[in-house]
Protein backbone atom coordinates (compact mmCIF):
# COMPACT_ATOMS: atom_id res chain seq x y z
CA UNK A 1 0.00 0.00 0.00
CA UNK A 2 2.83 2.38 0.93
CA UNK A 3 4.74 1.52 -2.24
CA UNK A 4 1.77 2.28 -4.44
CA UNK A 5 1.31 5.69 -2.83
CA UNK A 6 5.03 6.54 -3.05
CA UNK A 7 5.17 5.52 -6.69
CA UNK A 8 2.22 7.75 -7.54
CA UNK A 9 3.78 10.64 -5.57
CA UNK A 10 7.03 10.28 -7.54
CA UNK A 11 5.18 10.20 -10.84
CA UNK A 12 3.10 13.24 -9.93
CA UNK A 13 6.16 15.20 -8.77
CA UNK A 14 7.83 14.45 -12.10
CA UNK A 15 4.72 15.31 -14.10
CA UNK A 16 3.47 18.66 -15.36
CA UNK A 17 0.40 18.54 -13.11
CA UNK A 18 1.75 21.35 -10.94
CA UNK A 19 1.31 19.42 -7.70
CA UNK A 20 4.24 18.55 -5.50
CA UNK A 21 3.98 15.90 -2.78
CA UNK A 22 6.24 15.69 0.22
CA UNK A 23 5.28 12.31 1.69
CA UNK A 24 5.32 12.12 5.46
CA UNK A 25 5.34 8.48 6.57
CA UNK A 26 4.35 7.06 9.93
CA UNK A 27 4.01 3.40 10.82
CA UNK A 28 1.69 2.38 13.66
CA UNK A 29 2.90 -1.21 13.17
CA UNK A 30 -0.63 -2.59 13.38
CA UNK A 31 -0.93 -1.42 17.01
CA UNK A 32 -4.42 0.09 17.31
CA UNK A 33 -3.47 2.50 20.08
CA UNK A 34 -0.74 3.97 17.88
CA UNK A 35 -3.10 4.96 15.07
CA UNK A 36 -4.83 7.80 16.88
CA UNK A 37 -1.58 9.05 18.47
CA UNK A 38 0.26 9.16 15.14
CA UNK A 39 -2.71 10.56 13.23
CA UNK A 40 -3.08 13.34 15.81
CA UNK A 41 0.57 14.26 15.40
CA UNK A 42 0.23 14.43 11.62
CA UNK A 43 -2.98 16.42 11.69
CA UNK A 44 -1.55 18.86 14.22
CA UNK A 45 1.35 19.40 11.83
CA UNK A 46 -1.29 20.53 9.32
CA UNK A 47 -1.15 17.43 7.15
CA UNK A 48 -4.56 17.57 5.47
CA UNK A 49 -4.57 14.42 3.34
CA UNK A 50 -3.59 11.02 4.66
CA UNK A 51 -3.54 7.89 2.52
CA UNK A 52 -3.67 4.73 4.56
CA UNK A 53 -5.15 2.36 7.15
CA UNK A 54 -5.66 -1.26 6.20
CA UNK A 55 -8.02 -2.78 8.76
CA UNK A 56 -11.46 -1.44 9.50
CA UNK A 57 -10.66 -1.17 13.19
CA UNK A 58 -7.72 1.13 12.45
CA UNK A 59 -9.89 3.29 10.19
CA UNK A 60 -12.56 3.58 12.85
CA UNK A 61 -9.88 4.64 15.35
CA UNK A 62 -8.81 7.65 13.29
CA UNK A 63 -12.04 8.84 11.65
CA UNK A 64 -13.08 11.04 14.61
CA UNK A 65 -9.71 12.81 14.40
CA UNK A 66 -10.12 13.52 10.68
CA UNK A 67 -13.59 14.86 11.36
CA UNK A 68 -12.32 17.06 14.16
CA UNK A 69 -9.52 18.53 12.03
CA UNK A 70 -11.63 18.48 8.85
CA UNK A 71 -8.91 16.60 7.00
CA UNK A 72 -9.36 13.82 4.44
CA UNK A 73 -8.48 10.16 4.90
CA UNK A 74 -7.94 8.39 1.57
CA UNK A 75 -8.73 4.81 2.49
CA UNK A 76 -7.39 2.42 -0.15
CA UNK A 77 -8.40 -0.91 1.30
CA UNK A 78 -11.36 -3.03 0.27
CA UNK A 79 -13.71 -3.27 3.25
CA UNK A 80 -17.08 -4.52 4.45
CA UNK A 81 -19.12 -1.36 3.79
CA UNK A 82 -21.83 0.25 5.93
CA UNK A 83 -19.94 3.48 6.36
CA UNK A 84 -19.69 6.82 4.60
CA UNK A 85 -17.86 9.39 6.66
CA UNK A 86 -17.75 12.86 5.15
CA UNK A 87 -14.00 12.94 5.81
CA UNK A 88 -13.07 9.72 4.07
CA UNK A 89 -12.58 8.95 0.36
CA UNK A 90 -12.90 5.21 -0.17
CA UNK A 91 -10.84 4.02 -3.15
CA UNK A 92 -10.91 0.29 -2.34
CA UNK A 93 -13.76 -2.07 -3.15
CA UNK A 94 -17.14 -1.88 -1.41
CA UNK A 95 -18.92 -5.21 -0.69
CA UNK A 96 -20.96 -5.11 -3.91
CA UNK A 97 -17.64 -4.95 -5.77
CA UNK A 98 -15.95 -7.93 -4.14
CA UNK A 99 -18.12 -10.20 -1.95
CA UNK A 100 -21.24 -10.24 -4.10
CA UNK A 101 -19.46 -11.00 -7.42
CA UNK A 102 -17.56 -13.80 -5.67
CA UNK A 103 -20.75 -15.32 -4.28
CA UNK A 104 -22.38 -15.17 -7.72
CA UNK A 105 -19.37 -16.91 -9.25
CA UNK A 106 -19.12 -19.61 -6.57
CA UNK A 107 -22.81 -20.46 -6.73
CA UNK A 108 -22.76 -20.59 -10.51
CA UNK A 109 -19.58 -22.66 -10.87
CA UNK A 110 -18.98 -24.62 -7.69
CA UNK A 111 -22.25 -25.36 -5.91
CA UNK A 112 -24.55 -24.20 -3.17
CA UNK A 113 -22.93 -25.50 0.02
CA UNK A 114 -20.65 -22.93 1.67
CA UNK A 115 -18.28 -23.43 4.59
CA UNK A 116 -17.01 -20.22 6.23
CA UNK A 117 -13.70 -19.95 8.07
CA UNK A 118 -12.54 -16.57 9.30
CA UNK A 119 -10.59 -14.46 11.75
CA UNK A 120 -12.74 -13.36 14.65
CA UNK A 121 -13.34 -9.69 13.83
CA UNK A 122 -15.60 -7.34 11.89
CA UNK A 123 -14.22 -8.09 8.41
CA UNK A 124 -15.04 -11.79 8.70
CA UNK A 125 -18.36 -11.36 10.55
CA UNK A 126 -19.73 -8.87 8.09
CA UNK A 127 -18.52 -10.68 4.97
CA UNK A 128 -19.96 -13.93 6.24
CA UNK A 129 -23.25 -12.17 6.91
CA UNK A 130 -23.33 -10.85 3.34
CA UNK A 131 -22.38 -14.29 2.00
CA UNK A 132 -25.09 -15.95 4.08
CA UNK A 133 -27.74 -13.53 2.83
CA UNK A 134 -26.81 -14.09 -0.81
CA UNK A 135 -26.42 -17.86 -0.49
CA UNK A 136 -29.71 -18.22 1.39
CA UNK A 137 -31.52 -16.03 -1.12
CA UNK A 138 -30.37 -18.42 -3.87
CA UNK A 139 -31.50 -21.48 -1.90
CA UNK A 140 -27.97 -22.50 -0.99
CA UNK A 141 -26.81 -23.29 2.52
CA UNK A 142 -24.01 -22.30 4.86
CA UNK A 143 -22.80 -25.50 6.51
CA UNK A 144 -20.79 -23.77 9.23
CA UNK A 145 -19.14 -20.54 10.28
CA UNK A 146 -15.90 -21.08 12.19
CA UNK A 147 -13.90 -18.24 13.69
CA UNK A 148 -10.34 -18.14 15.00
CA UNK A 149 -8.39 -15.53 16.92
CA UNK A 150 -6.32 -13.27 14.65
CA UNK A 151 -2.89 -14.95 14.32
CA UNK A 152 -4.15 -18.47 15.14
CA UNK A 153 -2.31 -21.19 13.19
CA UNK A 154 -3.76 -24.46 14.47
CA UNK A 155 -6.51 -25.51 12.07
CA UNK A 156 -6.26 -29.27 12.43
CA UNK A 157 -9.76 -29.84 13.83
CA UNK A 158 -11.42 -27.32 11.55
CA UNK A 159 -9.86 -28.93 8.48
CA UNK A 160 -11.03 -32.37 9.59
CA UNK A 161 -14.53 -30.97 9.98
CA UNK A 162 -14.46 -29.36 6.53
CA UNK A 163 -13.30 -32.55 4.83
CA UNK A 164 -16.02 -34.43 6.69
CA UNK A 165 -18.70 -31.92 5.60
CA UNK A 166 -17.54 -31.82 1.96
CA UNK A 167 -18.79 -28.31 1.11
CA UNK A 168 -18.89 -26.99 -2.47
CA UNK A 169 -16.33 -24.38 -1.45
CA UNK A 170 -14.67 -22.78 1.57
CA UNK A 171 -15.18 -19.04 1.99
CA UNK A 172 -12.07 -17.81 3.75
CA UNK A 173 -11.87 -14.57 5.72
CA UNK A 174 -8.80 -15.47 7.74
CA UNK A 175 -6.11 -12.82 7.46
CA UNK A 176 -2.31 -12.79 7.44
CA UNK A 177 -0.34 -15.73 8.77
CA UNK A 178 -3.53 -17.56 9.76
CA UNK A 179 -4.64 -17.60 6.13
CA UNK A 180 -1.28 -18.80 4.79
CA UNK A 181 -1.14 -21.61 7.33
CA UNK A 182 -4.71 -22.62 6.55
CA UNK A 183 -4.01 -22.85 2.79
CA UNK A 184 -0.96 -25.06 3.40
CA UNK A 185 -2.56 -27.34 5.99
CA UNK A 186 -5.78 -27.73 4.03
CA UNK A 187 -3.93 -28.65 0.85
CA UNK A 188 -1.77 -31.19 2.72
CA UNK A 189 -4.77 -32.77 4.49
CA UNK A 190 -6.71 -33.07 1.23
CA UNK A 191 -3.73 -34.51 -0.61
CA UNK A 192 -3.28 -37.16 2.10
CA UNK A 193 -6.86 -38.30 1.46
CA UNK A 194 -6.54 -38.25 -2.31
CA UNK A 195 -8.77 -35.17 -2.66
CA UNK A 196 -7.96 -32.72 -5.43
CA UNK A 197 -8.58 -29.73 -3.16
CA UNK A 198 -8.41 -26.97 -5.80
CA UNK A 199 -11.02 -28.73 -7.92
CA UNK A 200 -13.25 -30.42 -5.34
CA UNK A 201 -13.23 -27.96 -2.40
CA UNK A 202 -11.80 -24.68 -3.69
CA UNK A 203 -10.98 -21.94 -1.21
CA UNK A 204 -12.34 -18.50 -2.10
CA UNK A 205 -11.35 -15.22 -0.51
CA UNK A 206 -11.78 -11.48 -0.96
CA UNK A 207 -8.43 -10.59 0.52
CA UNK A 208 -5.97 -12.78 -1.34
CA UNK A 209 -3.41 -10.88 -3.41
CA UNK A 210 -0.14 -11.67 -5.17
CA UNK A 211 2.26 -10.97 -2.24
CA UNK A 212 0.15 -13.29 -0.11
CA UNK A 213 0.37 -16.07 -2.66
CA UNK A 214 4.14 -15.86 -2.31
CA UNK A 215 3.78 -16.10 1.47
CA UNK A 216 1.73 -19.30 1.15
CA UNK A 217 4.67 -20.88 -0.60
CA UNK A 218 5.10 -23.63 -3.15
CA UNK A 219 2.88 -26.67 -3.06
CA UNK A 220 -0.27 -24.88 -1.92
CA UNK A 221 -0.24 -21.72 -3.98
CA UNK A 222 -2.40 -22.69 -6.94
CA UNK A 223 -6.12 -23.11 -7.49
CA UNK A 224 -7.45 -20.53 -5.01
CA UNK A 225 -10.16 -18.10 -6.01
CA UNK A 226 -9.87 -14.44 -5.20
CA UNK A 227 -12.27 -11.58 -5.81
CA UNK A 228 -10.58 -8.28 -6.39
CA UNK A 229 -10.77 -5.20 -8.55
CA UNK A 230 -7.11 -5.54 -9.49
CA UNK A 231 -4.76 -8.38 -10.38
CA UNK A 232 -1.25 -7.96 -11.80
CA UNK A 233 -2.27 -10.14 -14.73
CA UNK A 234 -4.68 -7.55 -16.15
CA UNK A 235 -3.58 -6.90 -19.71
CA UNK A 236 -3.71 -3.20 -20.45
CA UNK A 237 -1.25 -0.49 -21.38
CA UNK A 238 -1.93 1.37 -18.13
CA UNK A 239 -1.26 -1.75 -16.07
CA UNK A 240 1.90 -2.62 -17.97
CA UNK A 241 3.22 0.86 -17.38
CA UNK A 242 2.25 0.67 -13.69
CA UNK A 243 3.94 -2.72 -13.24
CA UNK A 244 7.14 -1.63 -14.99
CA UNK A 245 7.35 1.56 -12.96
CA UNK A 246 6.59 -0.37 -9.78
CA UNK A 247 9.27 -2.99 -10.44
CA UNK A 248 11.96 -0.47 -11.20
CA UNK A 249 11.04 1.66 -8.14
CA UNK A 250 10.80 -1.34 -5.77
CA UNK A 251 13.05 -4.07 -7.17
CA UNK A 252 13.19 -5.73 -3.75
CA UNK A 253 9.42 -6.22 -3.72
CA UNK A 254 6.87 -6.97 -2.46
CA UNK A 255 5.11 -7.49 -5.78
CA UNK A 256 2.34 -5.13 -6.76
CA UNK A 257 -1.13 -5.95 -5.44
CA UNK A 258 -4.68 -4.64 -5.28
CA UNK A 259 -3.75 -2.59 -2.20
CA UNK A 260 -0.79 -1.01 -3.98
CA UNK A 261 -2.99 -0.19 -6.94
CA UNK A 262 -5.73 1.30 -4.76
CA UNK A 263 -3.32 3.61 -2.92
CA UNK A 264 -1.64 4.49 -6.23
CA UNK A 265 -5.09 5.46 -7.57
CA UNK A 266 -5.91 7.37 -4.38
CA UNK A 267 -2.83 9.56 -4.67
CA UNK A 268 -3.48 10.23 -8.37
CA UNK A 269 -7.13 11.10 -7.68
CA UNK A 270 -6.00 13.42 -4.89
CA UNK A 271 -3.42 15.11 -7.11
CA UNK A 272 -5.84 15.68 -9.98
CA UNK A 273 -8.55 17.04 -7.69
CA UNK A 274 -6.07 19.28 -5.87
CA UNK A 275 -4.73 20.56 -9.18
CA UNK A 276 -8.25 21.38 -10.31
CA UNK A 277 -9.09 23.03 -6.99
CA UNK A 278 -5.74 24.89 -6.96
CA UNK A 279 -5.56 24.32 -3.22
CA UNK A 280 -5.15 21.43 -0.80
CA UNK A 281 -8.20 22.52 1.18
CA UNK A 282 -10.09 19.25 1.84
CA UNK A 283 -13.55 20.66 1.05
CA UNK A 284 -12.42 22.19 -2.22
CA UNK A 285 -10.58 19.00 -3.16
CA UNK A 286 -13.67 16.92 -2.42
CA UNK A 287 -15.84 19.20 -4.52
CA UNK A 288 -13.46 18.93 -7.49
CA UNK A 289 -12.83 15.22 -7.00
CA UNK A 290 -16.29 14.18 -8.15
CA UNK A 291 -16.06 16.41 -11.23
CA UNK A 292 -12.89 14.75 -12.54
CA UNK A 293 -12.70 12.72 -15.71
CA UNK A 294 -12.31 9.00 -14.94
CA UNK A 295 -8.74 8.10 -14.02
CA UNK A 296 -6.99 5.75 -16.45
CA UNK A 297 -5.93 3.42 -13.63
CA UNK A 298 -4.08 0.09 -13.95
CA UNK A 299 -7.41 -1.74 -13.44
CA UNK A 300 -9.26 0.45 -15.97
CA UNK A 301 -11.41 3.55 -15.52
CA UNK A 302 -11.83 4.65 -11.90
CA UNK A 303 -13.89 7.58 -10.66
CA UNK A 304 -15.52 8.68 -7.44
CA UNK A 305 -19.27 8.47 -6.85
CA UNK A 306 -20.51 11.85 -5.70
CA UNK A 307 -23.18 10.38 -3.46
CA UNK A 308 -21.08 7.98 -1.39
CA UNK A 309 -17.46 9.07 -2.04
CA UNK A 310 -16.62 5.48 -2.85
CA UNK A 311 -15.02 4.52 -6.19
CA UNK A 312 -16.48 3.02 -9.34
CA UNK A 313 -14.30 -0.08 -9.81
CA UNK A 314 -14.24 -3.18 -11.99
CA UNK A 315 -14.83 -6.48 -10.10
CA UNK A 316 -12.83 -9.50 -11.23
CA UNK A 317 -12.35 -13.09 -10.10
CA UNK A 318 -8.90 -14.65 -10.38
CA UNK A 319 -7.64 -18.20 -9.85
CA UNK A 320 -4.11 -18.49 -8.52
CA UNK A 321 -1.50 -20.43 -10.50
CA UNK A 322 1.83 -22.06 -9.63
CA UNK A 323 3.71 -18.85 -10.43
CA UNK A 324 1.97 -17.05 -7.57
CA UNK A 325 -0.08 -14.98 -10.00
CA UNK A 326 -3.77 -14.95 -10.82
CA UNK A 327 -5.41 -16.09 -14.04
CA UNK A 328 -8.54 -14.03 -14.65
CA UNK A 329 -11.63 -16.25 -14.80
CA UNK A 330 -14.32 -13.59 -14.70
CA UNK A 331 -14.51 -9.85 -15.19
CA UNK A 332 -17.28 -7.24 -15.03
CA UNK A 333 -17.96 -5.59 -18.39
CA UNK A 334 -17.64 -2.08 -16.99
CA UNK A 335 -16.87 -0.31 -13.72
CA UNK A 336 -19.53 -1.03 -11.10
CA UNK A 337 -21.19 1.67 -9.04
CA UNK A 338 -20.20 1.42 -5.36
CA UNK A 339 -23.03 0.43 -3.02
CA UNK A 340 -21.51 0.55 0.48
CA UNK A 341 -24.85 0.07 2.26
CA UNK A 342 -25.98 -2.58 -0.26
CA UNK A 343 -29.03 -0.42 -0.84
CA UNK A 344 -29.31 -1.65 -4.42
CA UNK A 345 -28.01 -5.18 -3.96
CA UNK A 346 -29.46 -6.79 -0.86
CA UNK A 347 -32.86 -7.89 0.38
CA UNK A 348 -34.86 -5.61 2.62
CA UNK A 349 -34.91 -8.16 5.41
CA UNK A 350 -32.11 -10.08 7.06
CA UNK A 351 -31.74 -13.68 5.92
CA UNK A 352 -33.76 -16.14 7.94
CA UNK A 353 -32.11 -18.93 9.91
CA UNK A 354 -28.93 -17.12 10.92
CA UNK A 355 -27.43 -19.05 13.83
CA UNK A 356 -27.68 -17.34 17.19
CA UNK A 357 -24.46 -18.98 18.38
CA UNK A 358 -21.05 -18.35 16.89
CA UNK A 359 -18.29 -20.89 17.26
CA UNK A 360 -14.91 -19.35 18.04
CA UNK A 361 -11.94 -21.55 18.80
Amino acid sequence: MLNGALLAADEINASALGIHFEPSIVNPGGDLSQYSALATKMLERDVRHVVGCYTSSSRKEVIPLFEKHDALLWYPSHYEGFESSTNVIYTGAAPNQHVLPLVEYLLAHHGHRAYCVGSNYIWAWENNRILRESVTARRGSVLAERYFAVGETDFHQAIEAIIEARPSFVFLTLIGTSAYQFFREFRTACRARGIDQAREIPVASCSLSEPELQAIGEGAVDGHLSSSVYFCSIESAANLQFLNAYRSRFPQGPTASADAEASYNAVWLLAKAAAAAETDDPRAVKAKLVQQEPLDAPQGAVWIDEQTFHAYLTPRIGRSNRNAKFDLVCEAREPVRPDPYLVHSSSRFEAAAAPSLRLVS
Binding site: I63, E83, T86, Q307, Y341, V343, R348, E350
Partner: protein
Protein backbone atom coordinates in the same frame (compact mmCIF):
# COMPACT_ATOMS: atom_id res chain seq x y z
CA UNK B 1 -46.79 -15.98 15.51
CA UNK B 2 -43.12 -15.64 14.57
CA UNK B 3 -41.05 -12.55 15.37
CA UNK B 4 -40.76 -10.16 12.42
CA UNK B 5 -37.47 -10.36 10.55
CA UNK B 6 -35.09 -7.45 10.97
CA UNK B 7 -35.30 -4.77 8.33
CA UNK B 8 -31.79 -3.83 7.23
CA UNK B 9 -32.12 -2.15 3.83
CA UNK B 10 -34.24 0.98 3.90
CA UNK B 11 -34.13 1.55 0.17
CA UNK B 12 -37.43 2.84 -1.21
CA UNK B 13 -38.32 4.50 2.09
CA UNK B 14 -39.70 7.98 2.63
CA UNK B 15 -38.70 10.29 5.47
CA UNK B 16 -40.90 13.02 6.86
CA UNK B 17 -39.10 15.58 9.00
CA UNK B 18 -40.92 17.73 11.51
CA UNK B 19 -38.80 20.78 12.29
CA UNK B 20 -38.88 24.53 12.11
CA UNK B 21 -35.16 24.67 11.38
CA UNK B 22 -35.09 23.10 7.95
CA UNK B 23 -31.78 24.81 7.16
CA UNK B 24 -29.79 22.47 9.41
CA UNK B 25 -30.96 19.22 7.81
CA UNK B 26 -28.35 18.78 5.11
CA UNK B 27 -26.34 15.98 6.75
CA UNK B 28 -29.53 14.10 7.62
CA UNK B 29 -31.10 14.31 4.17
CA UNK B 30 -27.83 13.59 2.32
CA UNK B 31 -27.18 10.51 4.45
CA UNK B 32 -30.77 9.31 4.08
CA UNK B 33 -30.40 9.71 0.34
CA UNK B 34 -27.32 7.44 0.40
CA UNK B 35 -29.40 4.87 2.24
CA UNK B 36 -32.11 5.00 -0.43
CA UNK B 37 -34.55 6.97 1.75
CA UNK B 38 -35.97 10.05 0.02
CA UNK B 39 -37.02 13.30 1.65
CA UNK B 40 -38.94 15.56 -0.69
CA UNK B 41 -39.24 19.27 0.20
CA UNK B 42 -42.95 18.68 0.85
CA UNK B 43 -41.97 16.12 3.49
CA UNK B 44 -40.21 18.73 5.63
CA UNK B 45 -42.99 20.18 7.73
CA UNK B 46 -43.21 22.66 10.58
CA UNK B 47 -45.50 20.71 12.88
CA UNK B 48 -46.96 17.27 13.41
CA UNK B 49 -50.37 18.68 12.53
CA UNK B 50 -49.06 19.31 9.01
CA UNK B 51 -48.46 15.60 8.35
CA UNK B 52 -51.05 13.92 6.19
CA UNK B 53 -51.54 10.85 8.36
CA UNK B 54 -53.51 9.07 5.64
CA UNK B 55 -50.39 8.89 3.46
CA UNK B 56 -48.17 7.35 6.16
CA UNK B 57 -47.28 3.76 5.34
CA UNK B 58 -45.86 1.95 8.37
CA UNK B 59 -43.54 -0.17 6.22
CA UNK B 60 -42.14 2.61 4.05
CA UNK B 61 -42.29 5.85 6.05
CA UNK B 62 -40.24 7.09 8.96
CA UNK B 63 -40.95 10.34 10.79
CA UNK B 64 -38.14 12.44 12.28
CA UNK B 65 -39.36 14.84 14.95
CA UNK B 66 -37.21 17.72 16.13
CA UNK B 67 -37.48 17.93 19.91
CA UNK B 68 -36.55 21.62 19.84
CA UNK B 69 -39.57 22.93 17.93
CA UNK B 70 -39.75 26.53 19.07
CA UNK B 71 -43.30 26.52 20.41
CA UNK B 72 -42.36 23.47 22.44
CA UNK B 73 -45.33 21.35 21.42
CA UNK B 74 -44.37 17.88 20.34
CA UNK B 75 -47.68 16.14 19.96
CA UNK B 76 -48.09 12.39 19.61
CA UNK B 77 -48.90 11.18 16.11
CA UNK B 78 -51.73 9.13 17.54
CA UNK B 79 -53.50 8.78 20.88
CA UNK B 80 -51.04 8.78 23.77
CA UNK B 81 -49.81 5.30 24.58
CA UNK B 82 -50.82 3.95 21.18
CA UNK B 83 -48.39 2.99 18.49
CA UNK B 84 -47.86 5.82 15.97
CA UNK B 85 -48.85 5.12 12.35
CA UNK B 86 -45.17 4.99 11.30
CA UNK B 87 -41.82 4.72 13.10
CA UNK B 88 -40.68 7.92 14.83
CA UNK B 89 -37.07 8.98 15.42
CA UNK B 90 -36.43 11.91 17.76
CA UNK B 91 -33.93 14.63 16.82
CA UNK B 92 -32.33 15.70 20.06
CA UNK B 93 -30.85 19.09 20.76
CA UNK B 94 -31.68 19.80 24.37
CA UNK B 95 -31.73 16.45 26.11
CA UNK B 96 -33.58 17.61 29.22
CA UNK B 97 -36.12 15.14 30.65
CA UNK B 98 -39.09 17.23 29.48
CA UNK B 99 -37.90 17.09 25.84
CA UNK B 100 -37.11 13.39 26.03
CA UNK B 101 -40.50 12.73 27.55
CA UNK B 102 -42.24 14.72 24.81
CA UNK B 103 -40.45 12.75 22.09
CA UNK B 104 -41.23 9.45 23.79
CA UNK B 105 -44.88 10.45 24.01
CA UNK B 106 -44.74 11.24 20.33
CA UNK B 107 -43.75 7.61 19.84
CA UNK B 108 -39.99 7.92 19.25
CA UNK B 109 -38.28 4.54 19.29
CA UNK B 110 -34.78 5.89 18.69
CA UNK B 111 -32.93 9.18 18.73
CA UNK B 112 -30.41 11.15 16.71
CA UNK B 113 -28.38 13.82 18.36
CA UNK B 114 -28.10 17.23 16.70
CA UNK B 115 -26.02 18.29 14.91
CA UNK B 116 -26.64 15.06 13.04
CA UNK B 117 -23.55 12.99 12.39
CA UNK B 118 -23.74 11.00 9.15
CA UNK B 119 -22.46 7.79 10.72
CA UNK B 120 -25.28 7.84 13.31
CA UNK B 121 -28.16 7.82 10.81
CA UNK B 122 -28.07 4.16 9.74
CA UNK B 123 -27.97 2.87 13.36
CA UNK B 124 -30.82 5.22 14.33
CA UNK B 125 -32.93 3.97 11.43
CA UNK B 126 -32.04 0.35 12.14
CA UNK B 127 -32.97 0.54 15.82
CA UNK B 128 -35.94 2.90 15.39
CA UNK B 129 -37.64 1.03 12.57
CA UNK B 130 -36.99 -2.46 13.91
CA UNK B 131 -38.05 -1.50 17.42
CA UNK B 132 -41.26 -0.08 15.93
CA UNK B 133 -41.85 -3.32 14.02
CA UNK B 134 -41.25 -5.37 17.15
CA UNK B 135 -43.62 -3.15 19.11
CA UNK B 136 -46.28 -3.53 16.41
CA UNK B 137 -45.80 -7.30 16.46
CA UNK B 138 -46.19 -7.37 20.25
CA UNK B 139 -49.35 -5.24 20.02
CA UNK B 140 -50.85 -7.73 17.55
CA UNK B 141 -49.92 -10.57 19.88
CA UNK B 142 -51.42 -8.75 22.81
CA UNK B 143 -54.66 -8.06 20.94
CA UNK B 144 -54.87 -11.73 20.05
CA UNK B 145 -54.30 -12.77 23.66
CA UNK B 146 -56.87 -10.28 24.84
CA UNK B 147 -59.43 -11.66 22.40
CA UNK B 148 -58.70 -15.17 23.62
CA UNK B 149 -59.05 -14.05 27.23
CA UNK B 150 -62.48 -12.62 26.48
CA UNK B 151 -63.51 -15.89 24.82
CA UNK B 152 -62.48 -18.02 27.80
CA UNK B 153 -66.09 -17.99 29.01
CA UNK B 154 -67.29 -19.64 25.77
CA UNK B 155 -64.62 -22.34 26.01
CA UNK B 156 -65.65 -23.19 29.57
CA UNK B 157 -69.32 -23.28 28.59
CA UNK B 158 -68.62 -25.55 25.62
CA UNK B 159 -66.58 -27.96 27.73
CA UNK B 160 -69.28 -28.13 30.39
CA UNK B 161 -71.95 -28.74 27.77
CA UNK B 162 -69.98 -31.56 26.17
CA UNK B 163 -69.34 -33.16 29.57
CA UNK B 164 -72.97 -33.11 30.58
CA UNK B 165 -74.37 -34.18 27.24
CA UNK B 166 -72.01 -37.05 26.54
CA UNK B 167 -70.98 -38.09 30.01
CA UNK B 168 -67.28 -37.55 29.40
CA UNK B 169 -64.67 -35.88 31.60
CA UNK B 170 -63.22 -32.42 31.00
CA UNK B 171 -60.00 -33.64 29.36
CA UNK B 172 -61.93 -35.70 26.86
CA UNK B 173 -64.32 -32.83 26.16
CA UNK B 174 -61.42 -30.47 25.60
CA UNK B 175 -59.72 -32.95 23.31
CA UNK B 176 -62.88 -33.36 21.22
CA UNK B 177 -63.24 -29.63 20.84
CA UNK B 178 -59.58 -29.20 19.97
CA UNK B 179 -59.71 -31.80 17.24
CA UNK B 180 -62.88 -30.34 15.85
CA UNK B 181 -61.30 -26.87 15.76
CA UNK B 182 -58.34 -28.24 13.85
CA UNK B 183 -60.58 -29.95 11.32
CA UNK B 184 -62.68 -26.88 10.73
CA UNK B 185 -59.61 -24.64 10.80
CA UNK B 186 -61.11 -22.44 13.45
CA UNK B 187 -59.53 -21.34 16.67
CA UNK B 188 -60.85 -23.09 19.78
CA UNK B 189 -62.40 -19.81 20.83
CA UNK B 190 -64.30 -19.36 17.57
CA UNK B 191 -65.54 -22.93 17.58
CA UNK B 192 -66.71 -22.75 21.20
CA UNK B 193 -68.44 -19.47 20.55
CA UNK B 194 -70.28 -21.00 17.59
CA UNK B 195 -71.27 -24.01 19.68
CA UNK B 196 -72.56 -22.05 22.62
CA UNK B 197 -74.30 -19.35 20.64
CA UNK B 198 -75.94 -21.39 17.92
CA UNK B 199 -79.28 -22.96 18.60
CA UNK B 200 -78.05 -26.18 17.05
CA UNK B 201 -75.17 -26.59 19.47
CA UNK B 202 -76.54 -30.01 20.13
CA UNK B 203 -76.09 -31.01 16.46
CA UNK B 204 -72.52 -29.76 16.43
CA UNK B 205 -71.83 -31.77 19.56
CA UNK B 206 -73.37 -34.90 18.00
CA UNK B 207 -71.26 -34.41 14.93
CA UNK B 208 -68.10 -34.13 17.00
CA UNK B 209 -68.97 -37.24 18.95
CA UNK B 210 -69.79 -39.24 15.86
CA UNK B 211 -66.46 -38.25 14.32
CA UNK B 212 -64.77 -39.20 17.54
CA UNK B 213 -66.36 -42.65 17.57
CA UNK B 214 -65.57 -43.08 13.88
CA UNK B 215 -61.86 -42.36 14.59
Amino acid sequence: MTEPRLLQNFSGGRAIVVTDRASSLEVLTTTLDRLGVTTSPADIVGSIAAIDLATLQPDRCVVFIDGDISDGTVLPLSAIGRLPPAPVIGLLGVSAPSRLKALMRAGASSFLRKPVHGAAVYPALFVGINEYRRHRHLETLLEDQERRRRSRRDVVKAIVRMMSEYGIDDDEAYELLRRRSMRTRQTMEELCKDLTQSSNGQEHGDFVLRRKLAD
